[in-house]
Amino acid sequence: MFRRSDVAGAIAFVLVATCAGIAHADEPSPAPEEDPDVVRAREEFRVGADAAKRNRWNEALISFERSLKLRKHAVTTYNVALCERALGQYTRARQTLRHALDDNEAAGGRELATTQTDNARAYLGQIEALLAKVDVHLAPDDVELAVDGRPLERDASSDPKSPVWVAGTQPPGPGERAPSAHFQLAIDPGHHIFVLSRTGLKPIVLNRSFEPGQAIDLPLALDKLDAQLVVETRDERALVTVDDVDVGYAPVSLRRPAGRYHVTVRRRGFIPYAQDVALEPGATVKLTPQLAEEKTALTQRWWFWAGAAAILVGTGVGVYYATAPSPQRPAPDGGGLGWSVDIR
């Protein structure tokens, strides 16, 4: 959790920036022939600046972006970056600020005032401190990854030998293949939704939050993501075991690591139900067995066995008296669990 003092400080940069920073239109100056695109660009620019003064950053951003489409200018790019920054879109703001500085340099340094280039560099430094740096470890790495509904983008200014990837700068779209099993990710502080997909499997959605400036490891061991196993039956007192471990009477809802499990459901007088279940990471599997009563074959009739018992008992007694059987010891009592431990 960033401290409230951190929030205020971060806000300071923005407010100071916005109070000082939104560049107003000394430039671009109208083209001599009053090109309609330039006129519209200027109008959009004015609307954007107006909205920025009233802290309506979304509206300002839209207007500046429209202006930029009609006429490229480093000042407009710079203003787009400030709006993105005010809206908490730091990775986008960083990228846009860099574009503004590059565009200015390409124009011989004439499009941005010195204070604006100085401010741009200062904001870049501040944004670097705000971004969370996440060391992502993927296992396995053959997943497609999207963050907040956008694929990642490689930070062009990072070292090609150890590239840094950035979230939030690409247009919305499906996830793309993760760059590697281990990579660095720069991401805005706050809530994010990671969607990891693998062919043939349901996507896995994860919520993660990051603090400003946080440097953290993010292990995403997909195979180790728990799955959920639900066993429901209308039969009362149906005992569920998973890999021979007693998990209680149905209904049960369990979280288990992904893998294969042998599930049995038993109830006295009913045919046991057994099923091997494969749990995928993040998946939910529900079993609803219907136990069948054991058929009462002749050999299931009590009187059959009672009669057989009577015969055997009689025989047994006779044999005993004839042969003096060895003494017996009472069987250990396993209690309600039916579990008796021999301490050897």
Partner: protein, 660 residues
């Protein structure tokens, strides 16, 4: 377990018939055996729904383990047997039973004995005491000490006189060389994105309690470099900061070694490995101690005797792990200790006497944490009655965030208490002042004699910050808004004046997520997968969207909400408390320490709290009108400098003893 089949019944009948003559003539006695019947006085499945059983022989070797689910109260008591085939000598068996909640487990890495409690950090009240208790600061090591608010010494060689408390440490120099001493960490920290240490200075003395022996002093917030001859010295801190407690971490090293990492002074916790005979079968997890009742029992197995033992797992023993006294990979039954029925109390393990009366087979009445209902009609007089009960305090939701983490969890039994229905408002504060209340901290609440500002100030210390304070010495039409810009000290004084105190973290979380409900909820009003809308609770009204903080910004609503209507859903069911999520963060009584700290380890099951007199940080929860949606969740912990006077988001409500 033997599978039943009619044929087996026939054979058994035959065997039984055959044995009739044997019983008459030469029946063998049973093996020495004990059947253990395990029951509990806590609510099943609300507080426990699994039982873990570990069996050790009399030499302490771990023999067997089993973990069973028993979520149905009808499945209790749980019984099983142990026996010995030795027909000549009695033997003993050590049984460990742990009742706990499904899902609350941790990796098993061996037995982790609890380190002994050493007590809260001492704050020196005078120079002699400070110097007498000054610890040795090892070379290239670090030590964290707590200073109080009040000065105990002058630091004559320092440029700024000491106007706050001090800490002292002793160092021994063995070689003549250049050395550096400094404060490498300070809590609380102040500042913005950059950590700006608290104002302090560090002085070097020949003798700790002799101010005239001071040799040198650092620059404010700087390190002290000195060429030192062999001998003993004392380091004493000064400082001209705002009066408040603070934790300072001191370090000393040779100047050339300063950039190397300091030696760690805390040994890693000992893990006593212990495994089953087949190590591969050793369980990889064990119950999380805070939510487990852990009991050791010794059963005597006498040849020919079948005993029945009844073992009660008492809720008072939640969070008190048994001590197996592991040596050489085995438990030591003779030295082992266990909690039987009293909080935080371990006793030697003695053989359990056999039960004489026949077992009832019925589960004991759940008395631990039984609901203490609120009689009569509530709320009344602005106070809600929070019924007593037990719940799991803490959880895993924010485990990854160190400061906000409420892990590990623990079971807490809460006594019934009263809680303000609403956050304390400006009007209520004014009414108390009119009745003679005087704030202990004269500067808070900070007053704003004009209209509320329209934007978040550049820093919290800026003059514009006061424009977002709701209190005013004369009414400005904000009587219904919560008081903010208030220190912990003032908030607490108000509650004391009103006959109560600030709520503890356990009380607050209980009221916000569990009281009167069958299970904990994600928000005070109930469970929801997504953050509330902007009209449902008061949050995110910052006019700068930092990390979602600006999601609810509207220029016409740039302020906290009235305490009576903080949001259309922000009303806690059953109790009727309003505004626990959002609006203003709420000061709490506890010192802000991690749940793994000694302070929390030392507290018991009933009404747990971490209360330290001079705490540099106090807990605060609930989220605020400027804040992020995460902070609206009851499990989200925050902390703040108790002396802070311009926190635009800090307010409070009071708690009171429950009706008798």
């Amino acid at each position: 377990m033997v599978r039943r089949h009619p044929l087996n019944a026939v054979l058994l009948a035959a065997a039984a018939a055959s044995s009739v003559g044997a019983c008459r003539d030469t029946e063998l006695p049973p093996y020495g055996e004990a059947v253990l019947e395990i029951d509990t006085d806590v609510l099943v499945p609300a507080l426990v729904d699994r039982l873990r059983i570990d069996i050790f022989d009399q030499e302490g070797r771990w023999m067997e383990t089993r973990d069973v689910a028993r979520p149905d109260p009808r499945d209790w008591p749980v019984s099983f047997g142990v026996y010995s085939r030795d027909e000549t000598s009695p033997t003993r068996v050590l049984v460990r039973v742990r009742a706990y909640l499904e899902g609350f487990v941790r990796d098993y890495r061996g037995e982790r004995p609890e380190p002994p409690l050493v007590g809260p950090p001492k704050v020196a009240g005078d120079l002699a005491t400070m110097c007498r208790d000054a610890p040795v600061l090892p070379m290239n090591g670090v030590t964290t000490l707590r200073r109080g608010k009040d000065p105990v010494t002058k630091t004559p060689t320092c440029s700024a006189p000491a106007t706050t408390g001090s800490v002292a440490a002793r160092i021994t120099i063995t070689d003549e060389a250049d050395y550096r001493v400094g404060v490498v960490a300070a809590e609380p920290q102040r500042g913005t994105l950059r950590v700006v240490p608290l104002a302090w200075s560090i002085a070097l003395r020949r003798q700790c309690d002799d101010e005239s022996s001071e040799i040198a002093c650092s620059a404010p917030n700087g390190t002290l470099d000195a060429h030192l001859l062999p001998g003993d010295y004392a380091l004493v801190t000064g400082g001209a900061a705002r009066l408040q407690p603070a934790d300072l971490t001191l370090r000393v090293a040779r100047a050339e070694d300063w950039d190397k990492p300091p030696a760690s002074t805390s040994p890693p916790p000992a893990l006593s490995p212990i495994e089953l005979p087949d190590a591969a079968l050793t369980p990889r997890s064990e119950p999380e101690p805070g939510v487990a009742i852990d009991r050791l029992v010794v059963a005597e197995l006498d040849p020919g005797v079948r005993a029945r033992l009844h073992v009660d797992l008492h809720g008072a023993c939640f969070g008190q792990p048994a001590d197996l006294a592991v040596e050489g990979g085995r438990a030591s039954p003779a030295k082992a200790r266990t909690c039987v029925s009293r909080e935080r109390e371990l006793q030697p393990v003695v053989p359990e006497p056999p039960r004489r009366d026949p077992p009832s087979g019925a589960h004991a009445t759940a008395t631990f944490g039984a609901t203490q209902p609120c009689e009569g009609t509530w709320p009344r007089d602005g106070r809600a009655c929070i019924p007593g009960g037990a719940y799991v305090f803490g959880g895993s939701e924010f485990r990854a965030f160190e400061e906000s983490s409420s892990w590990p969890p623990r079971v807490a039994r809460m006594t019934r208490f009263l809680l303000d229905v609403e956050e304390v408002s400006v009007g209520r504060w004014r009414s108390a002042v009119a009745r003679g209340f005087v704030s202990s901290d004269p500067v808070t609440p900070r007053a704003n004699e004009g209209p509320l500002g329209t934007k978040v100030p550049p820093t919290e210390e800026a003059d514009e910050a006061r424009l977002l304070c709701t209190w005013s010495t004369s009414p400005q039409g904000r009587e219904h808004l919560p008081v903010n810009c208030i220190s912990w000290y003032s908030a607490r004084a108000f509650c004391n004046f009103s006959g109560g105190d600030l709520p503890t973290e356990a009380q607050w979380e209980y009221a916000a997520s569990a009281a009167g409900r069958p299970s904990k909820t994600a928000y005070p009003w109930g469970d929801s997968e997504i953050a509330p809308r902007c009209d449902e609770a008061t949050w995110g009204r910052s006019n700068d969207s930092i990390v979602g903080g600006g999601a609810c910004y509207r220029p016409e609503a740039f302020a906290p909400s009235p305490t009576a209507s903080p949001g259309v859903v922000d009303v806690t069911p059953v109790t009727g408390v309003r505004g626990l999520a959002g609006n203003v963060n709420e000061w709490l009584l506890d010192s802000a320490e991690p749940f793994t700290s000694e302070c929390w380890r030392a507290t018991g099951v009933t009404d747990p709290a971490c209360l330290v007199g001079d705490a540099p940080l106090r807990s605060i929860r609930g989220g605020s009108w400027l804040g992020i949606p995460d902070a609206l969740r009851p499990l989200f912990r925050s902390r703040q400098d108790p002396g802070k006077t311009l926190d635009l988001t800090a307010g409070f409500r009071c708690a009171y003893p429950g009706p008798r």
